[in-house]
Amino acid sequence: MSRMLSIARAVIADCVRRRVPYVVVLFAGILAAAIPSLPDYGVGVEPEVFREVALALMYVAALVLSLALAANRLPSEFERRTAYSVLSKQVSRWEYLLGTWLGLSAVVAASVAAFTIVVQAVALISYGDFMWVLWVGTLSIALEMGVIVAVAVAVSTVSGPVVVVVASALILFVGHSRSTLVGGAGATDLSLFYPSLDSFNIMLPVAYGGGVSALMVLSMVMVFVGLSGIALLLGVVLLGKRDL
């Protein structure tokens, strides 16, 4: 356990040294530049549009960051053989994999939190409102990225960054297409077992005030635990089998 945390800490420190915090600064810059063009407070529906745009921007930024960090993390560790000095100690491969996932997910989550603070600041300036409801969006994006990072890390135990990005994009696509791909309930209703990411669809309740319930949050957390668990388990099995 402590070894897993050491590995996670090393991953976080490495991300910080790779200037990941600049991504947050860049994000803040984009939003700040947009302030003058934001509609004035009090003209009806505009704060909703602002929230929608902000959440979409956060989502894309978080996704790009997740894939940029996770896709090449393990492949480069294996290719440059930096993993040898870690795995030759009393460290199991699962500790190494989980530590890596934990570190990367923490970096992404911290970045999304920082984005949210930036968005809140802009909201306060433009609309005089902290828009605390945005944090539900933050949680949802952070959890969904946790799943994506788990998928990316798992696939990257046996393949290079290109395959990882394609596989992750595929999972995202499939995960958000339950209704189109499976359709309505029928005699063979397997939709219960569909690896759906729909629980993370929070645009309506958060941006348009559709109401945020505890059940919604709970279902997000459960989907996060279930899907990242499955992905990580697959990663552990794949990594356990391969030669380094």
Binding site: R3, Y84, S88, K89
Partner: protein
């Protein structure tokens, strides 16, 4: 618990690498067994591609063995728990670029189970020991090949392991560095640590190893003390200086004559040594050294390969 005094024990190690799209190739390691006594230094010698690295990686659990059992101090070393007494230097070690030497050793120290309050002191001590004093705050991207090698040795022994496995420890090191690592290995043995190292250089192992296993084409070709394996009995190698040519009396007895400037190296029967030395003296030359004639590793390998071809068991 049996064989309590063998620190490392490899039995019937075999590895066939999977090659994508092709039928399984020949075994990279084929039935290798090793036994290293506690507190000794054991060399794994062999030409490029002999299977040294593959054998060590299977021992450490980095490569999945096709067959074989691997034990360190009686425990399965392919499982994490069985590696708790182990320190390993990979071949041509490499580390994350953007951290300092100190940060790297702190990280490896934590993984090796060094107590938190001891880590910094231990890291500084080790940097000094491997000749990297004053580089605590240097980023590893600024390290030379030899400096990375030294850091690799430091991370291998940071947890004071009872067994140390070094894959080509001298590679990339200058002569001073090679001497340092030799002394370090002797120091480790002094403190009761067991060392297994691989090399393709005879000079690297002959000065320190208690025993060697010679690996060729994935098999152990010979095992024993290096003198037993390589000394050519009954022959002495002589090096002399200050002669433009060898006296006729010497010339008649000398074999394998090599000359560079006024320095001559040749070998004679042990029984002729006294008369040859006298003859060199009379001719105005000076004897620089007398040593048992030893086969070069290259010759030894060449002979092994030839005997393998003709199917003669050695």
């Amino acid at each position: 618990m049996e064989q309590a005094n063998s620190a490392i024990r490899v039995d019937g190690a075999r590895k066939v690498y999977k090659t994508v799209g092709r039928s399984p190739g020949r075994a990279a390691v084929d039935g290798v067994s090793l036994e290293v006594e506690q507190g000794s230094i054991h060399g794994l010698l062999g030409p490029n591609g002999a299977g040294k690295t593959t054998t060590l990686k299977m021992l450490i659990g980095l490569v999945k063995p096709t067959e074989g059992t691997f034990k360190i101090l009686g425990e399965d070393s392919t499982s994490p728990k069985g590696r708790r007494f182990l320190g390993f230097l990979p071949e041509q070690p490499y580390f994350p670029q953007h951290i300092t030497a100190m940060q790297a050793l702190r990280f490896y120290g934590q993984l090796a189970g060094v107590e938190k309050q001891d880590i910094d002191g231990r890291a500084v001590e080790l940097l000094g020991k491997v000749g990297l004093d004053g580089t605590e705050r240097t980023e590893l991207s600024k390290f030379s090949r030899g400096m990375l090698q030294r850091l690799g040795i430091a991370q291998a022994i940071i947890g004071r392991p009872a067994v140390v496995v070094l894959d080509e420890p001298a590679s990339g090191l200058d002569p001073v560095g090679q001497r340092d690592i030799r002394n370090l290995m002797l120091e480790l043995r002094e403190s009761g640590t067991t060392v297994l190292l691989s090399s393709h250089q005879l000079s690297e192992v002959e000065a320190v190893c208690d025993r060697v296993s010679i690996l060729n084409a994935g098999k152990v070709a010979a095992e024993g003390h290096i003198d037993e394996l390589l000394n050519i009995s009954g022959q002495t190698s002589i090096r002399v200086r200050g002669l433009d040519e060898l006296p006729a009396a010497v010339n008649a007895l000398a074999g394998d004559v090599a000359v560079s400037g006024s320095v001559w190296v040749f070998s004679v029967e042990d029984s002729a040594v006294r008369s040859v030395v006298d003859a060199v003296d009379d001719a105005g030359g000076a004897v620089m050294s007398l040593a048992p004639k030893r086969e070069s590793l290259e010759d030894y390998f060449a002979r092994l390969i030839a005997s393998a071809r003709t199917g003669v068991a050695s």
